[in-house]
Amino acid sequence: MQPDGILKDGHFYGFWCGDKLPNVYLHENTPDSKVNISELAAGKKVIIVGVPGAFTPCCSKDYVPDFISDCGKYKSKGVDEIVCISVNDPYVMAAWGKDLNAGGKVRMLADGNGAFTKALGLEKDFTDTLGTSSSRCKRFSMYAEDGVVKKLFVEPDGHSVTCSKSENLLSQL
């Protein structure tokens, strides 16, 4: 099975529709507050959105705000939770969520050491755009039911906003 979305040059991502979410811990607000993503998703309909970086212009201006403002629409389609992840520490993620008024709408979960990103096979070298030598997460959005991925949109170049935007994912539900 292949992931949904636009595939470029035949590249196959490590993660596919039909796969079960990995059993990985993320952090919420502080390093002490662990959240196991597969436990979070168990028995629920969940949207997970991944971004290259908290506070980056593209992620901040429209991308995540769209998921926040579409929260009501997702809920009306039966979605239980919307989660945003990035390879940033939990303090940065919490501050970003506060800046975006995500409270009560999108949970900001930190993939501090990139374990979740790696498990999904969605790592990307963002040296050119962010200057970071350690990997960040490609931009993606997914819909999972009871921990199994049903829809997955990964940006072909890892950072543009095309197939993974909220409007597109919503139309697929």
């Binding site: 390093p31 970086g53 908290a54 506070f55 980056t56 212009p57 390879v87 940033n88 520490d89 303090y91 940065v92 919490a94 501050a95 970003w96 800046d99 930190a110 501090g112 050491n113 990139g114 755009t129 962010l130 200057g131 970071t132 030598s133 350690s134």
Partner: protein, 196 residues
């Protein structure tokens, strides 16, 4: 108490700290612990390393920034972390005028974060015009200064020990590195002010 000549030798061992402990029977012994050293010290020249301001495209060479100027540089383990946010950064922002009156040309804050995060943190603390928020994105400056601290557990990566320093024409005049790398003692604004 006279300095033990052995401790003089051991103190030069990398990553060691020598101390004297007293046993119950009154005998003294020297212990060596692998505690944090104070690698950056007075007389050191700043390395020629690029930091980033606001965006990855905006490079600032720290050696060039400090040439022919009196500059305060302080480093933190992480933008938006509690200690750094509640105490360390705000202290320097509010003491800006006091530093200026002592002839300081610029105050710079450094952390191993990307420039977008640093800019956002600075904005949250109204640092603009007072403290320049410079991103040591990949830790190159932190490494060159031998100020790395493994905070992989809580923060996911190697970060910078908390420190403050006064630099004149690119040379360190005073350096204060927190003994445990993260405490809020000697590197705080009021402490450095009293040293000027």
């Amino acid at each position: 108490m006279a300095v033990n000549p052995t401790s003089k030798i051991l103190s030069k061992v990398v990553n060691s700290r020598v101390g004297l402990n007293f046993l119950a029977n009154g005998r003294k012994y020297i212990h060596v612990t692998s505690a944090v050293t104070m690698p950056v010290k007075s007389g050191d020249k700043l390395p020629s390393v690029d930091l980033y301001e606001n965006s990855p495209a905006s490079k600032v060479n720290i050696a060039e920034l400090t040439a022919r100027k009196k500059v305060i540089i302080f480093g933190v383990p992480g933008a938006f972390t509690p200690g750094c946010s509640k105490t360390h950064l705000p202290g320097y922002v509010s003491d800006f005028d006091k530093f200026k009156s002592k002839g300081v040309d610029e105050i710079v804050c450094v952390s191993v974060n990307d420039p977008f995060v640093m800019a956002a943190w600075g904005k949250e603390h109204s640092a603009d015009g007072k403290v320049r928020m410079l991103a040591d994105t990949n830790g190159a400056f932190t490494k060159a200064m031998d100020l790395e601290k493994d905070l992989t557990g809580p923060l996911g990566s190697i970060r910078c020990q908390r420190f403050s320093m006064l630099v004149e024409d690119g040379v360190v005049k005073t350096a204060n590195v927190e003994p445990d790398g993260t405490g809020l003692t000697c590197s705080l604004s009021n402490s450095l002010l009293s040293q000027l």
